[in-house]
Structures are given as structure tokens and as C-alpha cells.
């Protein structure tokens, strides 16, 4: 039996309460809460991946707005997912592995299978899935538990993940333990 982890990516106030995607977050939350509950009840390690950025981060110039600045309420995990049921990992870049302790923690716990949830599918989910795959983890993305502001980006990203670095599964498959 593989040791397993659930990653919940970027479910932070600045990103989730943004009006461009808040409706999608509201629809996503019941699925995500089910996934977290299943992981918690079945002994998965759970990691919440959160951006923690400096006010002058170069990403802000590119995307034109500021978000998840360290020490601000906007960088906190959304109320709907409180209390958190796992470890919070702070990151500066898209991949959850980039200059973070995630890889070490997963290896210390001998985890070799990762399920991914959160957002955005075409950015942080996709790069983290690739990074995890390159580091030797068995990666699955739960399609019902990820979102993109634009649906076509989600579809494209899931196809890419399925083709190159991991599996795309449903929440039912995750909860049934069939994959």
C-alpha cells in the first residue's frame, strides 16, 4: 500500500474571494471538503500549500495585482477550510516544491502518492504536478476539486497533466480508493 498525501493548493482569501473566481470557489468547496474529510479519516498526510509573497514580488508586475502578501489577512487560508487538518507549506513560486520543505516532509513520511486539489489548474496545479512527477511521486489530480478562472484553461491543463505527468481522476474515484 502506497503512503498517500493530499495537497490543497492556494485556497487563500485573496485568491478565493476574488470576484473573478469566487462563484467557482463556492461550487468547488463541497467537493474539496469531502476530499479533505476522506483524506483525514483515512490517514492521509494533508498539506495546505500557500503563497507567501513580498510586496515587491516580480509576479505582481506581471499580473497587475497584489495578492497573498506575507502577514496580511489575504494570505490566510479561507474560513470555509478552517480549522486546517494538516501542515501549511509556504511557497514563493508556482510549484509547491520550489524552495520549500515539501519534498523533505513527503520523503520523511515515506509518501509516494500525491493527490492534488485547489487552484489554478493551469498554473500551480500543473507545475506542481510536473515537479512531483519529476521527483518520482505518483501524481493524481482530482478533477472535481480543482478550478481555473477560465474553464477552457482547466480542460487544457487537465489534458496536459493526464498526457504527461499524472492521472486525472474524479472525486468518486478518490473516495472509493479505486485509484
Amino acid at each position: 500500500m502506497k503512503k498517500q498525501a493530499l495537497l490543497i493548493i492556494d485556497m487563500q482569501k485573496d485568491l478565493c474571494y476574488d470576484k473573478r473566481r469566487h462563484k467557482k470557489v463556492v461550487k468547488l468547496l463541497p467537493h474539496l471538503q469531502t476530499a479533505i474529510q476522506h483524506a483525514d479519516e483515512n490517514g492521509f498526510a494533508i498539506y495546505y500549500i500557500c503563497f507567501e509573497l513580498k510586496p515587491d514580488d516580480i509576479q505582481f508586475k506581471r499580473y497587475g495585482d497584489q495578492y497573498c502578501i506575507e502577514g496580511t489577512p489575504g494570505a490566510e487560508i479561507i474560513d470555509e477550510l478552517q480549522p486546517v487538518k494538516g501542515t501549511i507549506i509556504k511557497k514563493r513560486k508556482h510549484s509547491a516544491f520550489f524552495e520549500t520543505e515539501l519534498d523533505d516532509l513527503l520523503k520523511q513520511s515515506k509518501i509516494d502518492k500525491i493527490y492534488m486539489t485547489g487552484m489554478q489548474t493551469q498554473l500551480c496545479i500543473m507545475t506542481t504536478a510536473a515537479d512531483a512527477s519529476f521527483r518520482g511521486y505518483d501524481v493524481s489530480v482530482i478533477a472535481d476539486c480543482v478550478l481555473s478562472t477560465r474553464e477552457k484553461n482547466k480542460t487544457w491543463a487537465l489534458n496536459w497533466i493526464d498526457k504527461h505527468v499524472g492521472k486525472v481522476i474524479t472525486l468518486d474515484e478518490f473516495c472509493s480508493g479505486s485509484v
Binding site: 508556482h94 510549484s95 507545475t127 510536473a130 515537479d131 519529476f134 521527483r135 496536459w160
Partner: protein, 337 residues
């Protein structure tokens, strides 16, 4: 020793002198450089010399597979080799930004030393300046390279490609471009893809001493192989046709480019050469190149053809289609960036 570069290190006073003595001369000492006169005197007996100059900026300055120091030396050496010259001397202009960590500067200077030692090239002149910290970036390197033709009177120019010539690339494409973007943006591909940054003198100089059929060469750095091939086609008044299926590319680079929405033909290479050669010599050249660790993945990727009335310089066969590859205004912007 201070742990960061200060403005004083570029002021020409004691801090500069100590930097030059302890960091530059300690690594690059040679009889031409050591006098530290206003100019260096070099004795070149060759009737012809090859000269090239380049400035290097890269973010991050230390990346998977290399750093800006290695990049600057390899780039200069490869430019000389592309013209058929044996690299002899390089000048080193350092523009540092105040506040850069000392250990990073040391790493970069050590890389420079390693490359010039391996390639038996001397640093013969240099300069160090420091910009105030409000300038973005952390280090710029300017070089001038000097070499002499491997065979007197024999040099290679991009205008010399001939109809019927074969086009060879000495290894996988786009690795440097993807590795640097990935390291800058934290995309995870740096786990698998390292920059191909390498000096090609050891691979190519032996070939240049012999009858080789080569008509021209180009190192496909920024702009990727597409711009390098268009340079050759335009200058030679020919059309070049390449076959996508023959172009060597690592799978992770391929799907990384797909993720970023950029064409690997446009991503930089820093340890590859495009070689255009008389087709009678292709097989023996490839055999020789593949025998060297830097040329293992080399491949024949296309052919030089007569220029047609369409004016198209570079065509790529992909499946049943022939695609006209054109220059872009600038580097295509990756989807994430």
C-alpha cells in the same frame, strides 16, 4: 571580507584593487594580464584574427547546469569556434550591482576559471564596475573574444550555405531556455532539464583541422534554432527545410514547452552548433560528433534548398504539413510569465 558587493568595489580605490588582486588576478593570472596596464599587449603571429564581443544577462544568474560566468565564457568561445577559429583570449568586463552576495560572485568567477582552463583560453584584460542597488538585476558580463583560424584562410560564414547541403544540430534543442525559465518561475522542470551550457571547442576544433565539407556554422543561442537557421538562409540566399521529427528534443523539454505555449525552435541553446555541410560529408561528420559526449544526440535535421519565389527562408515539415517559420519580433512570451 565583506559578504556583499559594495559600490566601493567599482570605485577604483582600495576596495577595487583588493577585488582585482584577490578575485580576478588570483584566478586568472597570466603574463599578459598580470601587469595591469591600461591595455594588454598580445603577440599574434596569424595574418587573420577572429574577434567577437557579447554581453550577458540572465535571470537567475545561477541556474541548473551553469551560471552567468560559465555562460559568458562558453558563449564567447562558441562564437569564435563557429567562425572556424581557435579561441585564445577573452576580455572580462564585470558590471556588478551593489548588494550581490559575495559567494555568488565567487561561484561565477570560479566557473569562468574552470571554462578557460578547460579550453586553454586566457583572460587578457578586464574591468569591474558596480551599479547602485536600485538597478534591477545583479550582474552583467561583457566579453570580447579573440581567436585565430584553425586553418589559415579558412573561416566559416553564414552566407556560404550551398544548395544541397545538409543541416546538422549537435544535440537536443531548447534545454537552456526551458531550464532558465523554469528556475526563474519555479515550474519544476529544473528537476529534469539542465541548461546545455558548454564550450564546443573540444568537440569541433579537431573537425575543423581536417577536410570536413562544412560550409557554415551558427550557434543557436537566443532566438533558438529558428532564428539561427533563418540567418543562414537569408545570408546565403537559400531556403532551409527542416523536419520536426528529426530534431532532437528531450521529452520533458517538449512537453514543458507545450505547457508554456512556446515553440522550442525559439528557445535558447548555449552548448549546441548548427553545422551546414556538403552532404557527402554528413555521415562521417555525424559519426565523429556523436563520438564526443557533447554530440551524442546530434542529428541531421534538414537540407539547404534553392530559394523560391515565395521568399520563405525556413520551412518545417511536421506530419503532412509544411510550416513557414518566421522570425518573431521578440522572444515569445511563455503562457505563465
Amino acid at each position: 571580507m565583506n559578504h556583499k558587493i559594495e559600490l566601493a568595489h567599482g570605485d577604483g580605490c582600495r576596495a577595487t584593487l583588493e577585488f582585482v588582486k584577490n578575485e580576478i588576478l588570483a584566478r586568472f593570472s597570466n603574463p599578459i594580464l598580470d601587469p595591469c596596464d591600461d591595455s594588454s599587449i598580445i603577440d599574434i603571429t596569424s595574418k587573420e584574427i577572429a574577434a567577437t564581443t557579447d554581453s550577458y544577462i540572465v535571470d537567475p544568474i545561477i541556474f541548473p547546469g551553469g551560471d552567468i560566468g560559465k555562460l559568458s565564457m562558453c558563449g564567447t568561445i562558441n562564437d569564435l569556434v563557429a567562425s572556424g577559429a581557435k579561441p585564445l583570449y577573452i576580455t572580462l568586463g564585470l558590471v556588478l550591482v551593489e548588494g550581490i552576495e559575495w559567494h555568488q560572485v565567487s561561484t561565477i568567477l570560479d566557473s569562468i576559471n574552470q571554462v578557460i582552463t578547460e579550453a586553454n583560453v586566457k583572460i587578457i584584460a578586464g574591468d569591474t564596475k558596480v551599479l547602485p542597488k536600485q538597478y534591477q538585476g545583479s550582474i552583467i558580463i561583457n566579453t570580447t573574444g579573440i581567436g585565430i583560424p584553425v586553418q589559415q584562410g579558412k573561416y566559416y560564414q553564414v552566407s556560404q550555405a550551398q544548395t544541397g547541403d545538409d543541416v546538422i544540430i549537435t544535440g537536443t534543442i531548447a534545454d537552456h531556455g526551458l531550464a532558465v525559465i523554469s528556475a526563474r518561475e519555479g515550474l519544476g522542470f529544473e528537476q529534469k532539464i539542465k541548461s546545455d551550457c558548454a564550450h564546443l571547442d573540444e568537440l569541433l576544433l579537431p573537425i575543423l583541422t581536417q577536410e570536413n565539407g562544412i560550409t557554415c556554422m551558427r550557434d543557436p543561442t537566443r532566438g533558438g534554432i529558428s532564428n539561427a537557421l533563418i540567418d543562414i538562409a537569408e545570408s546565403s540566399q537559400k531556403q532551409i527545410e527542416i523536419d520536426w521529427d528529426l530534431i532532437p528534443i528531450q521529452p520533458e523539454t517538449k512537453f514543458g514547452c507545450e505547457m508554456l505555449g512556446i515553440d522550442p525552435l525559439f528557445l535558447a541553446n548555449e552548448g549546441k552548433m548548427i553545422i551546414v555541410t556538403n552532404s557527402n560529408y554528413s555521415a562521417s561528420l555525424l559519426k565523429q560528433i556523436r563520438a564526443h559526449p557533447l554530440g551524442v544526440a546530434s542529428a541531421l535535421i534538414g537540407k539547404v534548398k534553392k530559394k523560391t519565389d515565395t521568399g520563405m527562408d525556413l520551412l518545417m515539415v511536421k506530419g503532412r504539413k509544411k510550416i513557414n517559420i518566421q522570425r518573431t519580433w521578440g522572444m515569445p512570451i511563455p503562457r505563465l510569465c
